[in-house]
Amino acid sequence: MQFFGGSEISPSPPVPTASGNNGHMIYMFNRNGVCLLYREWNRPLRTLNAQQDHKLMFGLLFSLKSLTAKMDPTSAEKGNLGVPQLPGQGCSFHSFRTNTYKLSFMESPSGIKIILVTHPRTGDLRDSLKYIYNLYVEYVVKNPLYTPGSPIRCQLFNTTLDQYMRGIA
């Protein structure tokens, strides 16, 4: 079963509906909670230091995922806690919205979690998250100078990501 379907090698990015820099921050975590990437483009207020911020974010998502899975009224089988699931199976939340921001989340079967914080009127960003995951595979995983499990320090990935974020709503 193909993970992302489609016949192209990498899905083309979704068409942007508005121009401008709407992405606020992006976090990427691996399966063990190591923060692989944190980039911010527009964050006026910072309340915690970086370490606490990352831990808080990871813990929040871990709990939210297990909560949504346990409260699922349609399926009797609940997955094991903490184990990433294939995209069609199980039940996983994908975004929450407040009056000031929207947080979109995606977890790959390998446990890579991508979190994108944008302005509240953003539409469904699941395709964008898949495209970012593809960028991660192309420029980070296939980079011979990168050791898996360590924070991402790849020039190419950063520039392509910034360019992409400037183009989406």
């Binding site: 192309e138 296939k142 011979p144 100078l145 320090r153 020039q155 990935f157």
Partner: protein
């Protein structure tokens, strides 16, 4: 019957090959690791050129053979041709590829704000450059193997002064 392999498999295999030779087999002897990687490339180039010249007549001179490497051989390997070929007509050829596929995804760390000293930055950069040049021994060996099978003894080195473009310098031994 044509059998195919995914390109990412080949890319990952090459990355792992360079990494094992540099870090495990010959951890403290980079020159030996480089020579082994180049020797592997030599064998591969030798066999590949055998396959890709099956239906062709013999090459009339060195330039024709180099042009074969630039066009047909490179197309079979990377689905693109060499972008620029220069020669001094005295046995030296420079094959320039503006976007070499095996180097496309390598990128070095951006310099962080807290660089401890200028030396740290340069050592990190040197390490990245030496790893990148390790990756280029394999294609150098492929070119050398292919040319030697066509009857041309030569030495091939790579030049990475401006990534992602890289040049392969072929010096024919007269």
């Amino acid at each position: 019957m044509v059998r195919e392999v995914a390109e990412s498999c080949v890319d990952s295999l090459l990355t792992e090959m360079v990494a094992s030779y540099c870090n495990r087999f010959y951890a403290n002897k980079p020159e030996l690791a480089a020579r082994r990687i180049e020797a592997i490339g030599y064998q591969v180039g030798h066999q590949l050129s055998e396959r890709y010249t099956m239906e062709r007549p013999r090459f009339s001179d060195h330039l024709e053979a180099i042009k074969f490497i630039c066009k047909d051989f490179w197309t079979e390997l990377f689905k693109k041709q060499i972008d620029n070929l220069k020669t001094n007509h005295r046995g030296t050829f420079v094959l320039q590829d503006n976007k070499f596929p095996w180097l496309e995804r390598i990128s070095i760390d951006p310099l962080t704000d807290k660089v401890n000293s200028a030396e740290d930055a340069t050592t990190a950069e040197n390490k990245a450059t030496s790893t990148i040049s390790m990756h280029l021994y394999y294609p150098c060996g492929i070119i050398r193997g292919a040319l030697s099978n066509l009857g041309i003894t030569c030495a091939v080195t790579a030049d990475i002064s401006n990534l992602p473009a890289c040049s392969f310098v072929v010096r024919v031994k007269a």
